[in-house]
């Protein structure tokens, strides 16, 4: 069938977006090879020294911290999100289903900044947790939670929860309950049914949920900026400092490029693992 000319008009927005992305990627790549001139917004001649600077242990530790924070966040989000998703899909009562749905999805509709400020009120020296612990006499000095990796992780887990729950719930709802009934007919108690049947059959959801949150946390900015307060730095925060405090665009570009590469590697991992799982005919 010959396509109508107007058909191509639908692709225009996609092409414009792709061009915009390509242009900004091009700018980043271009900047990463230029010399930084301190005190100037302009860049100098072509050089490789920005990449050499990556070898500095400081940056290595920022990437390591970022990867670790992303790892903790995705693990905790998974462990806390799975029961929520499971109850949301399998609970008999509509009331429980909708409560869980609302509790886990609502954070999606509050902006990142608003949500992060809410955490300041919970984690701060005069915040909810410390007031509670001090008030009940369980502690005599406030617990330091702001500006710690712990505080940042808590806020990131909260931030990531809706996505995780949605991905897991989709995977769990695809599991035919006949498998669980079959296991029960073979004398498996509910705990065994969960471990031997439901959980293994939800691996595709677990893998994609985990990797999605990992990649999503790698680029977190506002949460570590506000809750980490300069003491907990992720890649985005360092890029921001270099770019907007020292105007070192070339080095900021190198750090961003590396982060983009990491994300691409992760996406390849998702792709490869879902292919593997499809071969196992799980879905």
């Amino acid at each position: 069938m010959k396509r109508q000319p107007f058909f191509y008009w639908f692709t225009v927005p996609a092409v414009v977006l792709a061009l915009a992305f390509l242009a900004s990627m091009g700018a980043i790549i271009q900047y990463s090879f230029r010399k930084h001139i301190p005190g100037s917004l302009d860049v100098g001649p072509v050089t490789l020294e920005n990449f050499e600077r990556l070898a500095h242990p400081l940056y290595f530790s920022v990437y390591l911290d970022t990867l670790l924070l992303s790892l903790y966040t995705s693990v905790f989000t998974l462990v806390l999100g799975y029961p929520l998703a499971y109850v949301m899909v399998r609970a008999r009562s509509r009331w429980i289903k909708s409560t869980v749905l609302i509790v886990s999805i609502v954070p999606l509709f509050t902006g990142e900044i608003v949500r992060t400020y809410a955490w300041l009120n919970v984690l701060g020296h005069n915040g909810f947790i410390n007031s509670l612990l001090l008030g009940t006499g369980l502690l005599d000095r406030p617990l330091q939670m702001m500006f710690t990796p712990f505080g940042v992780t808590v806020a990131l887990v909260h931030f990531s929860m809706p996505i995780m729950v949605v991905i897991l719930a989709a995977a769990i709802s695809h599991i035919d309950t006949d498998y669980e009934k079959a296991a029960a007919s073979l004398s498996a108690n509910p705990i065994k049914v969960f471990w031997k049947v439901t959980l293994p059959l939800s691996t595709p959801g677990i893998v994609s949920g985990f990797v999605t949150i990992f990649a999503w946390t790698l680029s977190a900015f506002a949460t570590p900026q506000l809750i980490g307060g300069g003491k907990v730095n992720m890649v985005s925060n360092i890029v921001y400092q270099l770019g907007f405090a020292s105007f070192n665009f070339p080095f900021a570009a190198v750090l961003s490029l590396l982060a983009v590469m990491l994300t691409i590697v992760l996406l390849l991992v998702i792709y490869a693992s879902t292919r593997r799982l499809e071969k196992m005919s799980l879905h």
Partner: protein, 363 residues
């Protein structure tokens, strides 16, 4: 309680909202017997099976498996095996692990698991298929793995919910024979659900014909075919003509009924209506009727409407006005030439096996 009863339902009722899916059903399944729950879609067969399995709890009544009352016992503590319509083989396990699953859950020793799984594979003629994956098997093979998985735990009762309905016609006929043969050899009590009366007739020791959540008749296939207890069973089992008629008189051991212009005599034992003048249904099998010239005394009159050639036999559809369409079946191919489409015809037959049931006069 008699120990030759494997499953007993005692006045069991199950409602879903305003729908009563199972209504006061009492049923005793004998040890080693092949019992079929037969009925149209939505009559409550699956619900009944789920009540035995424990996936549903009855609103009233009690369920027993063997000697034990299990009404409130969860499925995993009941002693049954089940084959699902879509087999539900675990996709993350190979054939061996699928079959071994129930043995592992029941904490059977390792060495015994190996030999019992192999024995089960041999029973379903899949020896050597242990390492295969479920998706590498044909529909019929998956079916047999599902059967092996259910019987390897040697449950007191095997529950099968339309296990053959996903198979094509030929394979289905082969699996019927095989299923019956395995069931007989293993000697396992079986409750089989189907809406296919042919399947029910060929497989079962007894058939429970169900309609609207109630058992209409519980009897051997032969009884259900020859002596249906009501008009529902008569119309559901086997091909049969249902012809509106009127009871004229009861005399001695015969009754006379008026079918259109014809007067027909039926043995009194075959008549479930009692008062002269009552509207009735006359049930006659198509193979009993034969075509005769229309001036034959007491023949039912009609016009040949169609011939349907079916290889082993020919079906003739006769349009009989207010009596509706009447089918007859014959092996004689000469019939098509002698009674062409459009010809007037009379129908007679030996009505010793016909049945008469009361008819609601609005029908």
């Amino acid at each position: 309680m008699a120990d030759d009863i494997a499953v007993r339902l005692d006045r069991v009722t199950k409602r879903f909202g305003s729908v009563t899916a199972v209504s006061e059903v009492s049923l005793q399944v004998r040890r080693g017997e092949f019992l079929t729950l037969l009925g149209p879609s939505g009559c409550g067969k699956t619900t009944l099976l789920n009540l035995v399995a424990g996936f549903l709890e009855p609103d009233q009544g009690e369920v027993y498996i063997g000697e034990t009352r299990v009404t409130q016992v969860p499925p995993f503590q009941r002693d049954f095996g089940m084959v699902f319509q879509n087999y539900a083989l675990f996709p993350h396990m190979d054939v061996f692990e699928n079959i071994a699953f129930g043995l592992r859950m029941r904490k059977v020793p390792k060495g015994e698991i190996q030999s019992r799984v192999e024995e089960a594979l041999d029973i379903v003629r899949l020896g050597g298929y242990g390492a295969r994956h479920a998706r590498e098997l044909s529909g019929g093979q998956q079916q047999r793995v599902a059967l092996a998985r259910a019987i390897v735990i040697r449950p007191q009762v095997l529950l099968l919910d339309e296990p053959l309905s996903a198979l094509d016609k030929n394979l289905r006929a082969r699996m019927q024979v095989e299923l019956k043969e395995i069931q007989r050899r293993v000697g396992i009590t079986t409750i089989f659900v189907t809406h296919d009366q042919g399947e029910a007739l060929s497989l079962s020791d007894r058939i429970a014909v169900i309609s609207e959540g109630k058992i209409q008749q519980l009897s051997s296939p032969d009884e259900a075919y020859r002596n249906p207890e009501n008009s529902f069973v008569a119309s559901f089992i086997g091909d049969i003509n249902r012809i509106p008629a009127r009871l004229v008189e009861v005399s001695g051991d015969e009754v006379a009924i008026a079918v259109g212009e014809a007067r027909i005599r039926v043995p009194k034992a075959r008549c479930h209506a009692s008062r002269a003048g009552d509207p009735v249904w006359l049930f006659v099998r198509p193979e009993v009727l034969e075509p005769v010239p229309e001036d034959t005394e007491n023949a039912i009159l009609g016009t040949i409407y169609a011939h349907v050639y079916q290889g082993a036999h020919i079906e003739i559809h006769v349009e009989a006005g207010a009596l509706g369409t009447i089918h007859l079946r014959t092996r004689d191919d000469g019939v098509m030439a002698r009674w062409p489409v459009g010809a007037r015809v009379g129908l007679v037959g030996d009505l010793g096996g016909a049945m008469v049931f009361p008819r609601d006069s609005r029908d």
